[in-house]
């Protein structure tokens, strides 16, 4: 019994650590990448040394830093901030909402296959679990928007929910194609199916496993991957689908009224969701923890598998940020047009193709 509690504590602690680290690193990357793309320098002053000195009350040296500790310093700042709850807000729901949103993201981390023996919870319906539990966060967003008693908050949360619910369809259908191909819902099983050379990855049609006939699958899978990627952008409210928090119209969307740590939790949840969205793409399409070259995987270097996985995820996150700082925001009708007229037909097409392939060819 003791062991079970210990195990739960360790797993939870590791997951909280992972979510926080992922959030902090992504926020730093976002600030740097956006700065570089706009010909700026981004955070430059707060390094770890100066942060330590500032906490210890010593003189802050500023030479040669690249602002590595900026997000940590921001977090510290947010912790000290006054916690403002608007007068007209529904206090109970207002306090509950960030927890729900965070819980929705946090729970999805449980099924991420960082390595073959490094999955917090290897349930046999892993993918289904992630899809299901992430829809829990939607209600938190609605709650936040409603309880702030703020028109921007409410509008932002309604938009956000509408967008998430409708983009669940193309995302779900494109994932189902992969599930059909591998015949399993377990994240581990799906990744293991892509073992070996990188042409075994689903993005490249798993050519290695299916032989030359696998080339039929290649365009399907590329379409699938792009559809999933666009859908995951929309589900995490990232630009160019950031109409729920469109600054020019809605101030900040559903978290307009939030300050201090509650705001920080929303932020962490958002970046956590981006990580999860891209981690699913990595696990399903890009070979998960396999580096794509068998020699490296078989070398048994400790820690290489999670590293490969996280590295791949951050490459995708870079693309997400790259897109954010390039493309303008879509209108609501354009958003729906993209979803219903382009993504859903294409994913349905690939879905049927994969079904036919599975039934008649394999």
């Amino acid at each position: 019994m003791d062991n079970i509690f210990l195990w739960i504590a360790i797993t939870l602690g590791a997951m909280v650590g992972l979510v926080s680290v992922v959030g902090i690193v992504s926020i730093y990357l976002e600030r740097k990448i956006s700065a570089f793309m706009q010909d700026r320098l981004g955070p430059m002053e707060v390094g770890f040394g100066s942060l330590v000195n500032a906490i210890a009350g010593k003189e802050v040296l500023r030479e040669g830093r690249i602002g590595l500790a900026q997000s940590l310093a921001d977090g510290l700042k947010l912790l000290q901030k006054e916690d403002i709850i608007p007068d007209g807000a529904d206090k109970f729901l207002f306090k509950l909402a960030p927890m729900i949103v965070f819980a929705g993201t946090f729970s999805t981390f449980a099924a991420l296959p960082l390595a073959e023996y490094f999955i917090p919870a290897d349930v046999n319906i892993g993918l289904f679990y992630i899809l299901a539990i992430s829809s829990f966060g939607v209600s938190g967003i609605l709650m936040a928007g409603w309880s702030s008693n703020n028109k921007w908050g409410l509008l932002g949360s309604l938009r956000s929910t509408a967008q998430m619910v409708s983009y669940e369809i193309p995302v779900g259908v494109s994932l189902v194609s992969i599930v059909m191909l591998t015949g399993t819902l377990s994240m581990k099983g799906i990744v293991v199916a892509q073992e070996g050379w990188f042409w075994n990855w689903h993005l490249f049609g798993a050519v290695g496993h299916h032989g030359l006939i696998g080339f039929v699958l290649l365009p399907m899978m590329v379409i699938n991957f792009i559809a999933y990627f666009i859908g995951s952008l929309a589900e995490t409210n990232r630009a160019p689908f950031d109409i729920p928090e469109a600054e020019s119209e809605l101030v900040a969307g559903y978290h307009t009224e939030y300050t201090g740590m509650r705001f920080a939790i929303f932020f962490l949840a958002e970046y956590g969701a981006i990580f999860v969205g891209n981690a699913i793409a990595v696990a399903l399409f890009l070979g998960g923890w396999y580096s794509g070259i068998p020699a490296i995987d078989q070398a048994n270097i400790p820690g290489i598998a999670p590293l490969v996985f996280i590295l791949k995820t951050f490459v995708l996150i870079f693309v997400v940020m790259w897109i954010r700082w390039t493309l303008p925001r879509l209108r609501v009708d354009q958003l729906m047009t993209l979803c219903w007229k382009y993504l859903i037909p294409f994913t349905l097409f690939t879905f049927f193709s994969v079904a036919i392939y599975k039934v008649f060819i394999v």
């Binding site: 990448i33 700065a35 570089f36 010909d39 700026r40 320098l41 790259w322 390039t326 382009y342």
Partner: protein, 271 residues
């Protein structure tokens, strides 16, 4: 097939945009890459003609207060004390300096960087340069003190000046006495009509001899008085004067020297 045409268009336009941003991303750190200046570490130089910081080369300042009168917002504060003969060196351009500048403060917090104060300066010692990097934590620190004297010096100078004043007064009194005496003598001489004309000629040189002394002193005194007067009227005068100056400066802006001359002419006429 506008459906697939739209898709192709979307792909091409998006990739164009992404290429542009990626090019910017790559160029970071290179010369053309970033436009951020890391301010406390690096600074940009202001254009040479910009008006940022006033500087007074105090060794050349004759304390004429033309600058203070020209300033539209009264941010120059000057207090002068009359100096003794040969106590101060000449300016670099040979102008005589006759006044100790015990206070010469410019309050940059009030200053609006118009540069009008620099034009009337007869010795060209007050200049406005392009040094824009004068951030201070307290507003009072923006009051720049150009006077070369320490407070003790000021006390000493004032004391010496007061002593000189006393001496000058005594001398003046003596002179007045001498003059009165001379006048009395003259009168007496006039009254003594029966006396010989040779006697008259002999007494005449005496007042002539004292005259140069008497002349220098009153000039110096009137200057001091003038200074005091100006100080009293500073509040009223500069406005009208500055307006004139401004108008002048506007008229003759292109040629700086010309405007300076005109201004100094103007000033001398007025004073």
């Amino acid at each position: 097939m506008s459906y697939f045409g739209d898709i192709a268009k979307a792909v091409s336009t998006i990739s164009t945009g992404m290429k542009i941003t990626f090019a910017h991303f790559k160029n970071v750190g290179k010369n053309k890459g970033t436009f951020t200046t890391q301010y406390p570490k690096e600074t940009l130089t202001a254009p040479a003609f910009s008006r940022q910081q006033l500087h007074n080369n105090i060794d050349d300042c004759i304390g004429c207060k033309k600058c203070a009168m020209a300033c539209p917002v009264d941010c120059i504060d000057i207090v002068t004390v009359k100096a003794g003969a040969d106590e101060l060196s000449d300016c670099s351009d040979g102008t005589k300096r006759r006044l100790h500048l015990t206070v010469y403060d410019i309050d940059m917090a009030k200053c609006m960087f118009c540069g009008l104060c620099t034009y009337p300066c007869p010795t060209h010692c007050l200049t406005i340069n392009d040094d824009h990097n004068f951030i201070k934590f307290e507003r009072s620190e923006l009051k720049y003190k150009f006077s070369a004297y320490s407070p003790e010096d000021v006390v000493r100078i004032e004391k010496e000046a007061a002593e000189r004043e006393v001496i000058a007064k005594a001398e003046k009194a003596a002179k007045a006495k001498a003059k009165a005496e001379a006048a009395a003598k003259k009168k007496a001489a006039e009254v003594a009509k029966a006396k010989a004309e040779a006697e008259k000629v002999e007494t005449a040189p005496e007042p002539e001899k004292t005259e140069p002394k008497a002349k220098t002193e009153p000039v110096a005194k009137t200057q001091v008085e003038q200074v005091v007067e100006v100080k009293k009227e500073e509040v009223k005068l500069p406005v009208a004067e500055a307006k004139e100056n401004e108008a002048k400066a506007e008229e003759i802006k292109p040629t700086e020297d010309a405007s300076k001359e005109a201004n100094s002419d103007n000033e001398t006429k007025e004073s």
